[in-house]
Point group: C2
Chain length 414, copies 2
């Protein structure tokens, strides 16, 4: 394949333990895809020199581009430099300008560099040094009989910055790229989406089609190999077909989130929102406030976890709870209305229910009511959500945000 194929190597014994995932792989796969380079292998290996050399040797045998992350720090466990030099049979030289930079970093903080940090200035002969603006370990790029071996730190922020600034331009030009798009779908199950989109999926080729389910949303991942600088006509065609079938269930694309879409809409309409959460205990407010500039449209909210908080803080009449139970549509709507009244906002949004593991008087775990309130509109959704405590809470927050999104989109006057 022109542009070649790539292998990702994640280095570090901690990545082989059960507790850690390699989070750099997704980023690198996406960026390489944008350059038309397919990742064919991903390998994780520990800090044992022989294992590390074995993996790098294999990778250089079978892949044109090898990107290794981790093992460039100052400690005795950081062996990537040595392994790369051994595999390519290159001597290691001390680079005086790296050494100066390292010493400067310490001097600026009023410290003397520990002697072991000098290791970070070791460079396999002929390597290109990749500056690291966010950390002490520089990256290294080595070219060897038509192969490109790039060594980057494992710290995601450092790795990403260095890749975008320095590694992208080194990649072999393919004249092609992988265009990708993610379609995000709310309020339908995976099998409902699968069923409705079946004719689109069957005629998707040459676009690759993958359907994935996450709590509270379903995603369609599309990928198409297209010439550089051009559009992605196959993806555009499929996007239009899906949008026509799914209507407002299709809520966003790529990195867009429900909270971002809701916030953008509120900002554009000069409207505002407040939350009143029982079941979700702050998750809805936390998601809304995760958006930069949220103070322009998020006034605040209430976590009405106990019953006293529902009547006191939330302003729900005690006899409403007595009549319908705390987990009920009337209480969900009263919470939403209470939030907007207390915080004087255009909209209120709420969630009440049972996250489990115990059942409540009104139903089993997953019995959930979400609601929204505006000046002249109140709306709720009664849900039976699957999953464990965390999944139920996450799905409930997602459903509440989706209810709000559709009320705003639907042109409802608040």
């Amino acid at each position: 394949m022109s542009g070649g194929s790539a292998e990702l190597v994640a280095i570090g014994s901690e990545l082989l333990g059960p507790a850690r995932a390699d989070t750099n792989g997704s980023f690198l796969t996406r960026r390489l895809g944008e350059a038309g380079i397919a990742v064919r292998f991903r390998t994780i290996v520990g800090d044992t020199p022989a294992d590390l050399e074995d993996v790098l040797r294999n990778a250089l045998r079978r892949s044109q581009v090898v990107i290794a992350t981790g093992g460039l720090g100052p400690t005795i466990d950081d062996l990537t430099r040595e392994a790369a030099a051994a595999v390519l049979d290159l001597p290691l030289d001390e680079d005086p300008s790296i050494l100066r930079d390292l010493e400067d970093r310490y001097r600026k903080r009023g410290l003397v560099m520990p002697p072991q940090n000098r290791r970070q200035a070791q460079v396999p002969r002929g390597a290109e040094v990749i500056p690291n603006p966010h950390g002490s370990a520089p990256g290294l790029a080595l070219r060897h009989v038509g192969r490109l071996l790039v060594l980057l730190p494992g710290v995601p922020l450092e790795m990403r910055t260095m890749f975008d600034a320095s590694v992208g331009p080194m990649l072999p030009a393919s004249g092609m790229r992988f265009a990708t798009r993610i379609l995000k779908i709310a309020a339908l199950t995976e099998s409902e989406v699968d069923h409705r989109l079946d004719p689109v999926a069957r005629s998707a080729a040459p676009v690759e089609w993958t359907i994935l389910a996450a709590p509270g949303q379903v995603e369609i991942h599309l990928r198409e190999r297209v010439p550089d600088g051009g559009g992605s006509p196959g993806i555009d065609r499929i996007d239009r077909q899906c949008a026509a079938i799914l209507g407002d269930h299709l809520f966003g694309r790529d990195e867009e989130t429900l909270e971002e879409i809701v916030g953008g809409r509120l900002l554009a309409r000069k409207e505002s929102v407040a939350t009143a959460e029982s079941l979700t205990g702050g998750l809805i407010a936390a998601r809304l406030s995760s958006i930069a500039g949220a103070s322009g449209w998020l006034a605040g909210g209430m976590v009405c976890y106990g019953e006293a908080a529902k009547t006191g803080l939330g302003g729900v009449a005690a006899d409403l709870i007595a009549a319908h139970g705390a987990v009920s549509a009337p209480v969900a709507e009263a919470l939403a209305a209470g939030a907007r009244a207390t915080l004087r906002t255009t909209w209120g949004v709420s969630a009440t229910g049972y996250a489990g593991p115990d059942s409540g008087p009104e139903g089993p775990p997953g019995t959930v009511f979400v609601a929204i309130a505006g000046t002249s509109v109140r709306r709720h959704a009664a849900l039976r959500l699957p999953g464990d405590r965390a999944a139920i809470r996450k799905r409930a927050a997602q459903s509440a945000l989706d209810l709000l999104r559709r009320a705003i989109l639907g042109g409802d006057r608040a």
Copy 2:
């Protein structure tokens, strides 16, 4: 090493895309560790026959136990059977009892098996068939010059059930297991922990020592190879040494979280807590309410995102904000005191600050004040937190929970 070392191979082109993680690896690593077998390599490869064979060949060269997951289904992309047979130079035979089982599965649902599903009855000659109680694809175990190659489906539930029922007993007996422990440390940076624990780390062997930083906490991961059925004396020794040095900075072990520890303490003392969050926008309440049974000690809380919410809902005097700014120690303490007064709890906990990307009048992003209030105690911490918006918010929530934990632990009367 007795018991040998293992390699995990995850098979499927979808696992090479940016969206998917291999979730089977953690389970297998844990189970193999319990059998005293270390995972030295993990590889992800797509459904290309040559790539798949290359990976299996490498794995069998360097590892005693190879566990491959995925690619055993009925479709044309499912090539693991063929690749294993090719690498071990074995013919594929149709197994009549597997075929009968497959046909039975369809018959029971009133269906006729599609002809392509017959592929799932193909078995490399001499392989042991591993029953799959939850799905149609059986697993296969192949022994080859002292190596064990196990092929399992990629569906987590099927894979786990089959591993526990059939694969565990096939593993080479080592008489040993890996004991592990995670020590969790709050309110110290990675380099502070590294410095204080340096003497312990240096004398940790034969216990493996790894230090990891996550937003707001530092973890020490310990691993020790010990005889089956015995304790882990090395880990116990290191745990005691770390506890003596770190004091109440060491907040938990293994899966314990700050919110769980705070909740447990409050429950034991029959005390309660309420939150008032600006910067963290509900994250603190969401973490506390994630604990099952939180309604026993979490009354609720307030998200005081805008200034009106701070004075109205939060009960902070407007002239306090005018005098010190919304991001200040007095306002943080007033929010904590307001939360406990409004919700009539033993404790109040709060956070205010700038998450960025913009700076505020009182400082740059990362300028944060967290506070707690009890009947006769108010306490705050002034912080300069690193990272992006999400990291600052997460670290602030962690710092607030840690301040609360230490106030409770310290025997402070609320």
